[in-house]
């Protein structure tokens, strides 16, 4: 032992011991949750810039350009009104069916498009991920921000429609702001979740439309939510706790004078909405963080 003190202290160490002796860290090691959040916060400018860039790029090949941000939800609403309002005549027991339908549609579409884009937010950006080092959650989060910006455009359209169909402007409208924020947090969580799942299984992209369509029919977007009362008791309870139904009901309550609602109690709506935002947001974030090292592999 006395002689070894004279030679290079690194002699005879294994690679791992050598690294430990000099305090080297494992390349691409997953940081702690707190450290990860700190780094993510430092990348907020990137998230915002990337979200803006995606928004600009999304319609860059269309002649009407950004106008599609407004035209797409409008066309959607027109098609559904034709089928559910005119052909199937669903509007008999709903006072302002156009307002009812478009509110549900626009609120649902916020989550729908975020989830669809989120499924590919990792798998579609592999080039960037394999080239540069940054907290990967930046990508799904910027997807959420892009969708939020598109939501703001469609909200302007929605308020216009609601006004034209004869709803008064009331203080209740302000409730829309916290409701949309809660939904945005919930969306961020779901987007983080599907981003990690979509990074591994590219089949998710094919399955997602079906899941989303089922979710849409379970959220009372196209018809009166009173239809759910005919279901067996447990199913009605299940639908009552459906996060999207909750966010849609909150928006309908805020904008429309007397919409038919499944949840009678406003307090319960807020509590469930906030609960979903909390559970979805934190759960999705932790789930995504746990896979941080794997995203480059494809």
């Amino acid at each position: 032992m006395a002689t070894t003190a004279l030679v290079d202290p690194d002699t005879g160490l294994t690679q791992a011991q050598l690294a430990a002796r000099h305090g080297l860290r494992v390349a691409g090691e997953r940081p702690t949750l707190v450290e990860y959040s700190r780094r993510l916060w430092a990348y907020r400018h990137f998230i915002a810039a990337y979200a803006n860039a995606k928004l600009v790029a999304s319609y860059s090949n269309a002649k009407l350009g950004q106008l599609w941000q407004v035209l797409t939800p409008l066309t959607n609403a027109a098609v559904y009104y034709l089928i559910f309002g005119v052909v199937l005549a669903q509007n008999e027991n709903i006072p302002n069916f156009i307002g009812y339908l478009t509110t549900g549609l626009f609120i649902f579409n916020f989550t729908q498009s975020a989830v669809l884009a989120g499924t590919q937010s990792i798998s579609g950006n592999l080039g960037l991920i394999r080239a540069l080092h940054f907290p990967r959650a930046s990508l799904p989060l910027s997807t959420t921000v892009t969708q939020f910006q598109q939501l703001l455009a469609s909200m302007v359209v929605l308020l216009g429609i609601v006004l034209v169909t004869g709803e008064p402007i009331t203080l209740k409208w302000l409730m829309l702001v916290p409701a949309l924020l809660l939904q945005a947090v919930f969306n961020a969580g779901v987007v983080l979740l599907v981003a990690r799942m979509g990074a591994k299984a590219s089949d998710l992209k094919q399955v997602m439309p079906f899941i989303l369509r089922t979710w849409m029919y379970g959220s009372g977007v196209l018809y009166s939510v009173t239809l759910f009362d005919r279901l067996p008791g447990w199913a009605t309870t299940l639908v009552q706790f459906n996060p999207l139904l909750v966010y849609i009901e909150l928006a309908r309550y805020a904008l429309l004078d007397q919409p038919p609602l499944l949840n009678e109690s406003l307090t319960q709506l807020w509590l469930v909405g906030a609960g979903w935002a909390l559970v979805g947001g934190i759960g999705g974030y932790i789930y995504f963080w746990r896979g941080e090292q794997e995203y480059g592999r494809g």
């Binding site: 080297l24 390349a27 400018h45 790029a57 860059s60 090949n61 480059g296 592999r297 494809g298």
Partner: protein, 273 residues
């Protein structure tokens, strides 16, 4: 490893050398890297076969696993410039990405000092957006502050020379020629200072004038960096910049030693093929 042991044996003879302890910056320990590639539509993918795979939980036939690096070990020290050579597909770029922490290792481990940066020309950006916007995004993605980005943006575009033939910086990147796009990507990547710098074929980008500028820029970056890795097929640029060279062949480390020896052996191997 053998080289490394010999070096320390010599050190026991001349004790004064020991006062300058060599500080490792990158320690690669028996690293294996496997990545999956989707081959796209291939024959023989009937629905029945797909269902059977789902039940048996085997991976799909159109996904192939590429074992790109097979058990490589070496240690890089502060102040070294190390060349990585080998034929196409020998795993050089994959190894660099793993050192940069961009690709995970499947077995073994890679330890690094600080956060190594990969300077490559493959940084994929948004093709639908203008060059200017790509500069901003790229710099932010490298972790720069917005003020810093605003200061450097004009310099980066000048350096890339994309505006030499009219105002291309405001056009979408999909309208660029491949050389222009590569030049812009290099200029973005080279705009930041680095601890451990990994350079992947970046010196071969663009025309002669740009190559001169970029070599100068890499030299500046080297002076600031602790350790430099250089992947290149141009043996002359490895000879010019690196004193030590590692030769990879089919994902296995063939040789690690002084540049002249390794390149001589590599050339003999390449000519005999």
């Amino acid at each position: 490893m053998v080289d490394h042991m010999q070096a320390t044996d010599e050190a026991t003879v001349s004790l004064p050398v020991l006062t300058q302890e060599r500080i490792p910056t990158v320690v690669v320990d028996d690293a294996h890297i496997i990545y999956r590639v989707h081959k796209g539509a291939t024959g023989g993918t009937t629905p029945v076969a797909a269902l059977r795979r789902l039940v048996k939980r085997t991976s799909a036939p159109n996904v192939r696993e590429v074992h790109a690096v097979k058990g490589v070990s070496f240690t890089a020290y502060r102040g070294e410039a190390i060349g990585l050579i080998g034929s196409n597909g020998s795993g050089k770029s994959t190894l660099l990405r793993a050192i940069a922490g961009l690709l995970p290792v499947n077995r073994g481990a890679i330890h690094t000092q600080g956060q190594p940066s990969l300077l490559g020309v493959n940084a994929a950006l948004l093709n639908d957006l203008s060059g200017e916007r790509n500069v901003t995004l790229g710099c932010l993605a490298m972790g720069m502050h917005p003020d810093e980005v605003a200061q450097q943006a004009a310099g980066i575009i000048d350096f890339s020379g994309i505006n030499e033939r009219g105002d291309f910086a405001s056009l979408p990147m999909r309208t660029y020629s491949s050389g222009m796009a590569a030049r812009l990507r290099f200029s973005i990547a080279a705009a930041k200072k680095h601890d451990v710098l990994l350079i992947d074929e970046a010196l071969a980008t663009g025309d002669k004038g740009f190559r001169k500028r970029s070599e100068q820029r890499v030299r500046e970056l080297r002076e600031g960096a602790g350790t430099v890795f250089l992947v290149s097929h141009q043996l002359s640029s490895v000879r010019d910049t690196c004193e030590r060279t590692i030769w990879l062949e089919s994902g296995v480390l063939r040789m690690d030693g002084p540049t002249d020896d390794v390149i001589r052996a590599y050339e003999a191997y390449a000519n005999s093929k």
